[in-house]
Amino acid sequence: MKNQNLLKSALLSASLLVAANIVSAETFRWASKTDPQTMDPHAVSSAPVLSFLNNIYEGLVRRGRDMSIEPSLAASWEPLDGENGWRFNLREGVTFQDGADLTAEDVLFSYQRAASEESDVRSWFAPVSDVRVIDDHTIDFITKAPNPLFPDSIANFMILDKGWAERNDAALPARDAENFATMNVNGTGPFTLQSRDPGVRTVLVPNANWWDTPEHNVTEATFTPIGNSATGLAALLSGEIDFIQPIPLQDVQQVESRDGFKVLEGEETRVIMFGFPHEHEKLLYSTNESDSNPFSDPRVRLAAAHALDIDSIDRVLFRGKIGAASQLVPAGISGYSEANGNRPAYDPERAKALLAEAGYSDGFSFGLKCPNDRYINDEALCRAAASMFAAVGLNAELSTGPVRDYWPQLREDDFDMYLLGWSPGTFDMEHPIRFLLHSQDNEKKLGSWNFGNYSNARVDELLPMIQQEIDPENRQKLIDELVAITQEEVAYIPLYTQPLIWASKDNIDLTQRADNFFMLRWVTVN
């Protein structure tokens, strides 16, 4: 009897030991460039914040590994009958991390919070005219017009508990000063916050009461921001972190050549492009064409497009990791126009001929503005482009600067040509049309990133039709027409799709999603 007990307890402690071993092996440490500014999901609409908080909070819908929309806090949804809008049927039995039940009231509260003036994500709800709670687990979002894409557009709309937020004076997002939700969380998601030292270390632990079945085996996850890429790479190679996003392109080979590490490569959905001063009367930085604006002539814009050798840029600057872009979204994004999949070929002779045709056979000089800390190799790209432009007589005076200074310059129309990257927030072609191609219209909040104010009446007309068209085939026809117009007029020069380069230790399995969001719930430590 006694012996049996002894054996039992020995076995028990042995199995405990094994369990303890497994547990301690699954601590996961990762790094990225920027610390999420806040833990409040409605206060800042930036990729570091939304990406990080997707581990803690959840939306009505969520995106899967392949970016497809799948049920999350809403188990199902359908368009409303006889009214524009959508009905969401909430999942039963979901609790917040503090134990409170998820109800439609929480969704309504989160909507009001996210659509408030203090929120930075309120533009998602611009199409919404009303939200009605039907019962504890049913809620309707009424839209001003038919909106087939609405569920897709709110994948990052994260739900807070009404009681928790109100109890802690966090009923509104913190805009100027902190509130409880800046440093504390209470989500429904797979992880919860254990500790946070902003800019230094943030520790997450699994949420034991998560409604979904975990696919990860992480027991503790530590995030550290490392701003300097070389330091971040060193931290990975020395084994101090398990995963880092992103690493510089030129270091891929170095990581791959070392035992125990691997590189994850993919394409982000961000298209890099050059923009023109369509509306300017004259060039600002030209030494020989300061009275007119040659770029108002589509032939000159096309000449600029023909001057660029994307293959060489790819080979030398991006080590063969980019795909040329023909339009403002990459292939694979919904609404991508297959019919218009070609971009102007590299053809300096044709570029020179076009310039001569337009009356600039001797070329002209202009100012090219580029950020130097926003996109991968942005400065090197612009230097290479300037050199290629020069070869056909387009003498670019390149000026680069940090992005904190760059956006204000673009907003003030201080450019002759500029670099821009765009990632479609809704993963649909409609997004860049709304922000980059529609004429600037502050009232309707359209064309807000169309700095050069490209304007075409037909394009403006097509946007609402595209937004409201329910039949996919008809919708695609409308988009094809629009893309053809903007290509013919060379509204922008789309260059390429930005690559995504992550690196991890060999024993880590994870999913690289095209929106550059890193999801802890898909991490397996082997």
Binding site: Q250, D309, I313, V316, L317, E379, R383, A384, A391, N395
Partner: protein, 301 residues
């Protein structure tokens, strides 16, 4: 052959100091190279049409894939490394020397005066120095850059980056000179020879320049040499922090900053050739400075 040269005269010392001769030779070589860069460099890195991305990332000629047209290889834009370095040295030397001269004149002038007159004047100067010290170089650069942007028309701002950077570096270095000159002046001022000059009714300016200055040249020269080096390095550091020169103006600093991206990528030449060049230049200047210090120091004679 050199028998007619008097022992212990500067030139005698020079020819008897191999390190000084080597340093002088290297410095002269680099300065000449920089001066005549437009004549001797294979291409002009400022001329966008003179290089092509197609030639990017070529290794030096002795490595596989190197081409004789680019003896030391090319960078990620296809710029010839030799040309970049020659033009880079040119720009770096101009910035470094100008900044150092401005800092020296400003700093020594103010320091001497502060140390000599003392009192309220001294207090004001030293408090200004405190303000300056409290602003790290990066901030001074941002400030001057900002002011320039505020008052200059946009067209010429891009061309002003060199001036802005030079001024910023000069302003962040003058305090060293001022404080050292002041501290030494305090000590010298109370020595008999200065007190004698004051009693003889000499003009303060004369006393400062003729009596005091030569006696504090030793420590100042040390600072000057170190600071010429640090002016060149500061330019690189400011570039690293993102407020230096644009990448298409090759200074040694921007070349190194760009090269840093290739630290691990296998294209070692993009980082190490400009870095080694910078080290040689700075070390040579420092060795020369040491030598000059020995000469100018009256104690040696």
């Amino acid at each position: 052959m050199l028998a007619f040269i008097k022992r212990r005269e500067p030139f005698w010392l020079f020819v008897h100091s191999p390190s000084a001769m080597i340093a002088a030779f290297l410095t002269a070589l680099i300065i000449l190279g920089a001066l005549f860069a437009p004549l001797i460099a294979p291409s002009n890195p400022y001329d966008l049409s003179s290089f092509s991305l197609m030639d990017g990332l070529l290794p030096p000629v002795w490595q596989d894939g190197g081409r004789s047209a680019f003896l030391l290889g090319t960078d990620d834009q296809g710029r010839d490394m030799i040309s970049s370095i020659l033009y880079g040295a040119r720009l770096s030397l101009v910035i470094g020397l100008t900044a150092m001269v401005i800092a020296t004149v400003l700093g020594v002038g103010l320091g001497l005066a502060a140390g000599y007159f003392g009192g309220r004047f001294d207090a004001v100067i030293m408090r200004i120095a405190d303000v300056q010290l409290a602003l790290p170089a990066i901030l001074t650069a941002l400030l001057i850059d900002g002011i320039a942007r505020g008052i200059l028309p946009t067209e010429i701002q891009q061309n002003m980056r060199v001036t802005v950077l030079t001024l910023a570096i000069a302003l962040s270095l003058w305090v060293n000179f001022a404080r050292t000159a002041r501290a030494s002046t305090f000590v010298e001022k109370n020595k008999e020879y200065v007190e004698a000059a004051i009693i003889m009714g000499q003009h303060p300016l004369r006393i400062m320049l003729i009596q005091i200055l030569p006696n504090i040249v030793g420590p100042l020269l040390v600072i000057m040499t170190v600071d010429l080096a640090s002016a060149i390095l500061l330019e690189a550091t400011l570039s690293f922090l993102g407020i230096g020169l644009p990448a298409d103006s090759p200074s040694l600093g921007t070349l190194i900053r760009i090269g840093m991206q290739f630290l691990l990528s296998g294209e070692w030449w993009i980082l190490w050739i400009p870095t080694v060049f910078l080290i040689v230049l700075v070390v040579a200047i420092n060795v020369l400075g040491d030598f000059l210090r020995d000469i100018f120091n009256p104690g040696l004679r």
